[in-house]
């Protein structure tokens, strides 16, 4: 049995964990970043879309090595096929964002953590907590070179949707079928990507009950084609719905699938408390996800950055009480709490709408030029064009 001691141990090297490790190391803490996977970024569990803004805010230079596609517009397709296009005009360089190559991106973020001095160990499965009375004092792990115990002043749980570390610590993170989208995705080649700069979202209770299907282009011949089904509305595995969707699209049906991936996306809103004793919970593990879109990279990176910074500064000040560490909770809620709440409400409205209502909404939005993709702007337009629909949407204003 190997024993090690660090200021901060981070469990999980996805975007949340690597940003936490980077921030903690940068602020002077000794940091160990652990991941069970032998290769970071694999398997891919997401649509890989990310806005440009969080990268800029976090000082990460976009790198062509992990950008598979750049997109500048969004197209929403209603159940009966009515298209609503939204182009982003007011963003620097006219970009909405990127379709990433997570296999490279995640490694890049871990490298940024390592550059700040964090130790990184992959192929290392955390299988329990070290407890000192009621306090968490580290993690137990196993890897190719045996078992180890890592003691740490602060543990950061960034172990994704599975969120076992938080559960061992007594935080209830188990998802109910209403609060999870079961997602399947094909990376497809040999397809006809008509608009390589446009992200497409398809809605409808038949093709994708309680969720949406997406086509995110990676250049002109390749795309992530995926589907999310609300757990409580699934009748078959998500991949079956995805196969039907692909077969129904002429531009896709002759394509070849070069990768199958998927995952569970938490869409029930963040957990009520993300700090417990000397444990900080970040990213998907804390359910810090945009419930409307299912996007979580942005909030995971921002929350991870805050968590790492708070942990290191608390340790340096000699006070790692829960009260001191609650600064993490306060800061991330200030930065994105309200936004995540609104998306959660918007999701509930979307889920309550029938296919007919979605078609009506699409018709009302058709032909309107949006300067910026913002929920508020869309709602403002709606108040003018369809007051009846507004009754349902009122909770969002």
């Amino acid at each position: 049995m190997k024993e090690k001691k660090y200021d901060v141990v981070v469990v999980g090297a996805g975007p949340a964990g690597s940003m936490a490790a980077r921030a903690a190391a940068k602020a002077g803490a000794s940091v160990l970043l652990l991941d069970k996977r032998r290769e970071l970024g694999v398997p891919v569990q997401c649509g890989e879309a990310l806005a440009e803004e969080p990268l800029r805010d976090l000082g990460i230079e976009p790198n062509p090595r992990w950008i598979a596609g750049e997109v500048n517009a969004v197209r929403l397709i209603s159940p009966s096929g009515i298209e609503v296009s939204i182009a982003e005009k007011s963003v620097v360089h006219g970009k909405v964002g990127f379709i990433l190559d997570r296999k490279i991106f995640d490694k890049h973020l871990a490298m940024l953590a390592a550059k700040e001095g964090a130790d990184v160990r992959v192929g290392t499965l955390v299988d329990g907590l070290i407890m000192n009375g009621k306090k968490i004092s580290g993690v137990k792990a196993s890897s190719f070179d045996g078992r180890m115990e890592v003691r740490a002043d602060v543990v950061i749980a960034a172990d994704g949707v599975v969120s076992r570390v938080a559960r061992w610590a007594g935080v209830k993170t188990a998802l109910k079928p209403d609060d999870i989208e079961s997602c399947a995705q094909f990376q497809m080649v040999g397809i006809d990507v008509k608009s390589p700069k446009v992200m497409e979202f398809y809605f409808g209770s038949k093709i994708t009950p309680g969720g949406y299907a997406w086509i995110f282009p990676k250049g002109e011949e390749m795309a992530n084609v995926g589907i999310g089904i609300l757990g409580s509305r699934m009748q078959r595995p998500a991949i079956e719905y995805l196969k039907n969707f692909v077969d129904s699209r002429p531009e896709l049906k002759d394509g070849r699938v070069i990768e199958i991936n998927g995952g569970g996306v938490p869409v029930g809103g963040p957990i009520s408390k993300t700090v417990k004793d000397n444990l900080l919970i970040v990213g998907d593990a804390a359910r810090q996800v945009n419930a409307l879109t299912g996007g979580g990279i942005d909030s995971a990176m921002r929350a991870g950055d805050i968590a790492g910074d708070v942990a290191a500064n608390a340790i340096a000040s000699g006070d790692i009480s829960e009260k001191r560490l609650m600064e993490y909770e306060k800061r991330w809620r200030e930065q994105m709490g309200k936004r995540l709440e609104r998306y959660l409400k918007a999701k509930d409205v979307l889920l309550s709408m029938t296919d007919e209502e979605l078609d009506k909404l699409a018709k009302a939005l058709q032909g309107i030029e949006f300067d910026k993709i913002s929920l508020t702007d869309m709602l403002k337009v709606l108040t003018k064009v369809n007051p009846k629909l507004l009754l349902k949407l009122r909770g969002l204003m």
Binding site: R167, R236, I260, G262, G263
Partner: protein, 59 residues
């Protein structure tokens, strides 16, 4: 006890995220439940690729 078809499983962890008793471990190469599995079937329902079956515990 839930059993996973390793040939179908994509190791995404959706099953573990909904398990009410935290019985499922998603390791790098395999996914398995421990004895606390109650055969409730939520994991099977949520699995995006249909990789999970339930086996009755042997008496």
């Amino acid at each position: 006890m839930m059993k996973v078809d390793a040939g179908v499983c994509i190791r995404c962890g959706a099953c573990a995220s909904v398990c009410p008793v935290n019985a499922i471990e998603v390791a790098d190469v395999r996914v398995q439940a421990d004895k606390s599995c109650t055969n409730c079937g939520i994991c099977m329902k949520i699995c995006p690729v249909g990789a999970i079956i339930l086996e009755r515990k042997k008496v």
